[in-house]
């Protein structure tokens, strides 16, 4: 074994703290450089591809419009990607890599911001993949009346949809801290709420405002009216902001064990 090859230990000029761009790149890297992260991302891409192909084949005859294919292609990513968001935070605690992450970057708020930025970038990348898949397969298997187009508005709304669900995933991860319960609660709670509020009469009005599926789902389908946006906005406020607030506090204040 060789001797320590680095002789200089006098106090150096302060090394500057890593910039936000670097932190974000590192979070993206950490999302994809583990076995589970890589396979999960590939699986999401594969499911997206399969969805698009099936849509093109099944609906090939009459309404395989680009808009419909785009809408369908976004669905799997919207369900699965936030799980990656949950793991982005919970993985640090469960794999205990917080020991390294927090000693290298003691300002935990910056780490969480970088994680959110990385999650949003991944959502944007996923949306680009969805669009490319839709366009490619829309061209290969055109409907008799032409594939049509995806309006910029619907594309932008799809972006809002994916990034919002992704951030909600990160927020749940930060708030709950443990992967398994965080994923289960992330997937079940909004669905349970949707089911509950649509069956129990007094809650029905509320479901227009706070149910994730009905208010956010159509984002990638049609351009939203002001009322639609109000509904989506309140839903996001509840499902994103509340867990995010809890998550920011817990992420910054919990001792590392």
């Amino acid at each position: 074994m060789s001797a320590l090859a680095t002789p200089v230990y006098e106090i150096r000029a302060e090394a500057r703290r890593p910039g936000f761009g670097r932190l974000t790149r590192i979070e993206l890297r950490k999302m994809l450089d583990t076995r589970s992260g890589l396979w999960f991302s590939l699986a999401v891409a594969a499911v997206t591809l399969i969805t698009v192909i099936i849509t093109a084949l099944v609906k090939g005859g009459h309404d395989a419009t680009l808009a419909r294919m785009f809408n369908n292609s976004v669905e799997p990513a919207a369900i699965l990607l936030p799980v990656l968001g949950v793991l982005l935070v919970c993985g640090e605690w469960s794999e205990r890599t917080t020991l390294t992450t927090f000693t290298l970057v003691p300002d935990r708020g910056r780490i969480l911001q970088a994680k959110l930025a990385a999650a949003i970038l991944l959502a944007i990348a996923a949306l680009a993949v969805c669009l490319v898949c839709s366009v490619v397969f829309g061209e290969l298997l055109p409907a008799p009346g032409g594939a049509g187009s995806v309006s910029i508005v619907v594309f932008a709304q799809g972006l809002v949809f994916l990034t919002a669900t992704m951030v909600i995933g990160v927020a749940f991860g930060a708030a709950i801290m443990f992967s398994a319960p965080a994923i289960v609660i992330y997937l079940l709670l909004p669905t349970a709420w949707d089911a509950l509020s649509s069956t129990i009469h007094p809650l029905k009005t509320l479901s227009h405002w706070l149910a994730v599926g009905p208010t956010l789902g159509p984002l990638a389908t049609h351009s939203f009216s002001a009322t639609d946006w109000a509904h989506a906005g309140t839903t996001i406020a509840l499902w994103m902001m509340l867990p995010l607030a809890i998550g920011v506090w817990r992420f910054s204040h919990c001792d590392v064990n």
Partner: protein
């Protein structure tokens, strides 16, 4: 330079660390010694901003840890070698840290070489690593930013004897170049073999600190066997000499070899063995200080003992616990 000032950590009613103060000077190795659960890891975590003290404070290189702009470039920390992502390859684990620290990627290979993890090992995922390999990877990670200070929690854990010897050499070399080292261990002989200063913690409090000779001075310095240990023991007690019993049954007296010989002669006891203990009684002191008397454990209301003077030790006649070595 590390300075801990009255660090205290409470979890609800339980006090994990109580009023811990010590300093570590550049160019020295400080051994943080105590039984499992004494509060070593909690203290080290508070030094690195991983746990927040209930009261008290600490500085590293003259400022609170979280105010160092890029701490990995100054302080190498290894709290738990098993805390690495199982699904990440060994080299990638270091490469991520290198990117964060802003050191060139070549530094990763230098450090892998330094800790003797070859290319094949570096390509493996951490899940396939033995504890010793994880320890090496952790040390490589701690040295990545070319720090001037090291904080290591149980660094010898999982290393084989060759690895331990290598680690001792590495840390001595590091300190000889002016670096500051704080390492914890629950094994006395490990700390004794390397540390310039020893800080002993028990039940969350510092019970003694000083150099090896300062701590050992006079404690159980002499080992003696005789044909009539009972009489010899009474004679030593009558001469105000503290006596304890080693785990092989020999008596350990807090007095010089000459004094013990004289007492035995005066008492008319025939000796079978008489000599200075190998470590000058440090081991005996360690057990006396860290042994939890029934009912005395974690008494949070008791006034804090003030280091470095060890608390008065009453004549101890207990049998030593089995030493794990």
């Amino acid at each position: 330079m590390i300075r801990a000032t009255s660090l205290t950590k409470r979890y609800g009613d339980r006090t994990a660390v109580q009023d811990v103060s010590f300093t570590c000077a550049p160019g020295t190795i400080t051994g943080f010694l105590g039984p499992n659960g004494a509060g070593k890891s909690t203290t080290l975590k508070m030094l690195c901003g991983l746990a927040y003290p209930t009261s008290g404070s600490s500085t590293v290189l003259g400022r609170p840890y979280d105010e160092i702009p890029n701490p990995g470039r100054h302080v190498g920390v290894l709290i738990d070698a098993s805390a690495a992502h199982e699904g990440r390859r060994g080299r990638e684990t270091l490469a991520v840290s290198a990117q964060l620290l802003g050191v060139p990627d070549t530094r990763v290979d230098e450090m892998l070489d330094l800790v003797d993890l070859d290319t094949a090992a570096a390509r493996k995922r951490v899940a396939q690593y033995s504890l010793g390999m994880r320890q090496r990877l952790g040390i490589a990670g701690a040295l990545l930013g070319d720090p001037q200070l090291l904080i290591l929690d149980e660094p010898a854990n999982g290393l084989d004897p060759v690895g331990m010897r290598w680690m001792r050499g590495l840390l001595r070399d590091f300190a000889a170049r002016g670096g500051t080292v704080l390492l914890s261990s629950h094994l006395l002989h490990e700390v004794e073999a390397i540390a310039d200063r020893i800080v002993i913690i028990a039940s969350g409090r510092i019970v003694a600190q000083g150099t090896r000779s300062e701590l050992a001075g006079g404690h159980a310095a002499t080992r003696v066997r005789s044909t009539d240990d009972h009489t010899l023991r009474s004679a030593l007690h009558n001469n105000s000499i503290k006596v304890s019993v080693a785990n092989d049954g020999a008596l350990l007296a807090n007095a010089s070899v000459e004094t013990v010989g004289d007492v035995a002669l005066a008492a008319g006891v025939a000796l079978r063995e008489l000599g200075a203990t190998r470590d000058g009684g440090l081991e005996q002191l360690f057990f006396q200080l860290t042994e939890k008397a029934p009912g005395e454990a974690r008494d949070t209301d008791a006034p804090a003992s003030s280091p470095p003077a060890p608390p008065p030790v009453t004549p101890v006649t207990t049998t030593l616990e089995e030493v794990n070595r």
